[in-house]
């Protein structure tokens, strides 16, 4: 399933991450996944939340640079080799993966794999055709 992820710019300074999370918490927004990629100076925080539009609005209002990104989400059995199957499927198709991260899904025993590729639509089709169409919106968003 294609889902909306929020990407947030954070300068590497104490308190920046807390500040962003705090804004979301006080707006009653639930964070279901969080991943941080960083360098010495700054990082990009990637978030899956239950109300992406509201979260984007609240963060922007506070002067935080935030952008919605479309990513592919796949549920995996939390067993060895789970990620390998997805990677093998994508390799050799011309789709390149910019980054990926895993997080614990809401269904127990399952992990959620989030993929950012250079062609989200094509990747989604490929995943669907191979039986990876297995995430329900309820797992991500408040519905």
């Amino acid at each position: 399933m294609i889902i909306k992820q929020l990407s947030v710019f954070l300068e590497n300074k104490q308190g920046r991450l807390e500040a962003a999370v705090e804004i979301l918490a006080s707006a009653g927004i639930d964070i279901s996944a969080l991943s941080l990629a960083d360098t010495a100076d700054y990082g990009v925080l990637r978030l899956l939340v239950d109300q992406p539009a509201l979260a984007e609005e609240k963060l922007s209002e506070s002067g935080i640079i935030v952008r919605q990104t479309r990513v592919n989400a796949v549920a995996m059995k939390d067993v060895p080799g789970g990620a390998y199957g997805i990677l093998r499927l994508l390799s050799g198709t011309g789709i390149s993966i910019e980054y990926m991260y895993a997080c614990v899904g809401r269904v127990s025993g399952e992990a959620l794999m989030v993929l950012r590729t250079d062609d989200t639509e094509k990747a989604e089709k490929l995943l669907e055709d191979n039986g990876f169409n297995n995430v329900s919106p309820q797992d991500i968003y408040r519905i």
Partner: protein, 434 residues
């Protein structure tokens, strides 16, 4: 002697004219302008001590502050009944300033602009669209009079209302456009976007009143299919037309029968050797209502000693690089915040310059040079690789523009401290460190 032949007169004859006019200007100012007389008396100088341009450096400087202190008419050398017009500029800081012109002054001003226009090919057959603002600002009326003097058809549209500017340009068949370079750029982009270039008859652009780069010139020329020329001036000295480019587009001729330029060290006030970069200073030779003697423009540039292939003997000046108040010396290199702004603007591709701050320090005898740039939507990307690429583009752009390396740091938006709404651009911690 008519004014056109003066453009080509040999240096010796030109000096003789300057000597006579300088002596006269000093004498008149001493008799009529209190501020100048007091400054002369302070250093024990009388007009008879000035025999020609070789004595110029003995004369005291004058400053923008003088115009504020003697606001509005205190520096005029003519009674108000002889003053035909006033112009004023507000500036971003402080009280506004007022300047005045007699009929002869206005005539001289128009002549300076007409010289440049003629040189770059404007004739009585041209339609000159003046998109400089008309009003207290010197741009509109100044250029207007020059174009009229040539006998061209003037379209006095003033600034603003882009759609109307473009429609007028097409309907009235404008062949010459006069405006600020940034507005010309904006018009060019709009014309390109609307696909109207084929309907234009434009062939010449005369742009000035603000700094612009050679890149901008190239872009305006290509987009509009014109030749773009630089014009320089400031209202304290006269207005646009103190200097202007010839068809060779390589420096602006200062009309030396009316103005003497000097380049000085802004800190010591010493005159620098010809060709050196420093603060530009002007002395007027023919102005009646508001003569200026060694007026400190705060603009930093250099004069060009070589003879111009156009045959004019009047010296050329390079486009000012920035204001002396803003100039930084980092590892021995002159750096202007405006150069940094130019790079940031280019990388962001937006009309608004991203907020930034320069931090200077000294470690082991060497200046450190860091620039914090606030992250903006234009620079942000979802992945680190793209952000690093943007950072690298900025760093490389700065290196090629400034000639020295700076460390660029992308920081949180609004994290650069502002005071009274304006960000503090430079933090210099080098004082007293070795």
């Amino acid at each position: 002697m008519n004014s056109a032949s003066l453009e080509y007169t040999d240096r010796e004859s030109l000096k003789a004219i300057q000597d006579e006019r300088l002596i006269n200007t000093v004498k008149r100012s001493y008799e009529r302008v209190e501020c100048f007389r007091l400054r002369m008396q302070e250093i024990g100088l009388i007009p008879d001590d000035i025999h020609g341009t070789e004595d110029l450096a003995k004369l005291p400087f004058s400053y923008k502050k003088d115009l504020r202190d003697y606001y509005p008419y205190g520096l005029f050398a003519e009674p108000m009944e002889n003053v035909a017009r006033v112009h004023a500029s507000s500036g971003t800081t402080g009280k506004r300033i007022v300047v005045g012109y007699t009929k002869n002054d206005l005539e001289m001003w128009a002549d300076c602009i007409a010289r440049m226009m003629r040189e770059v090919g404007v004739t009585e057959k041209d339609f000159v669209q003046v998109s400089f603002g008309y009003g207290l600002f010197t741009g509109g009326f100044g250029v207007h009079a020059g174009a009229e003097k040539i006998g061209a058809t003037v379209i006095p549209i003033s600034s603003g209302n882009t759609a109307n500017q473009i429609q007028t340009m097409i309907d009235f068949g404008a062949t010459v456009l006069c405006s600020t370079p940034s507005y010309a750029m904006y018009l060019a982009e709009e014309i390109e976007r609307l696909g109207l270039k084929d309907q234009l008859k434009l062939r010449i652009g005369i742009f000035g009143a603000e700094p612009w780069s050679e890149e901008m010139r190239g872009k305006i020329e290509r987009t509009l299919g014109i030749k773009a020329y630089d014009i320089y001036g400031l209202s304290e000295v006269m207005g646009p037309g103190v200097a202007g480019e010839c068809r060779f587009q390589n420096g602006m001729h200062v009309w030396e029968d009316n103005f003497i330029p000097e380049i000085i060290d802004p800190d010591t006030g010493d005159v620098l050797p010809l060709g050196a970069t420093g603060e530009l200073v002007f002395t007027s030779l023919t102005k009646e209502a508001f003569p200026v003697i060694r007026y400190r423009t705060r603009d930093i540039c250099s004069l060009i000693p070589e003879k111009c292939p156009c045959g004019r003997t009047h010296i050329r000046m390079h486009k000012p690089q920035g204001r002396s108040d803003d100039m930084l010396i980092i590892r021995g290199v002159n750096v202007f915040p405006s150069q940094i702004e130019e790079v940031l603007l280019k990388v962001s591709g937006k009309e608004i310059t991203p907020n930034y701050q320069i931090i200077l320090d000294r470690v082991n005898n060497t200046d450190t040079f860091d620039i914090n740039v606030e992250m903006s939507d234009a620079f942000f990307a979802d992945d680190i690789k793209s952000i690093e690429k943007t950072e690298k583009t900025i760093t490389e752009g700065l290196r090629s523009t400034l000639g020295i390396g700076a460390k660029v740091h992308l920081v949180n938006p609004k994290s650069i401290v502002r005071s009274e709404g304006k960000a503090k651009r430079v933090i210099d911690n080098r004082q007293g460190k070795i």
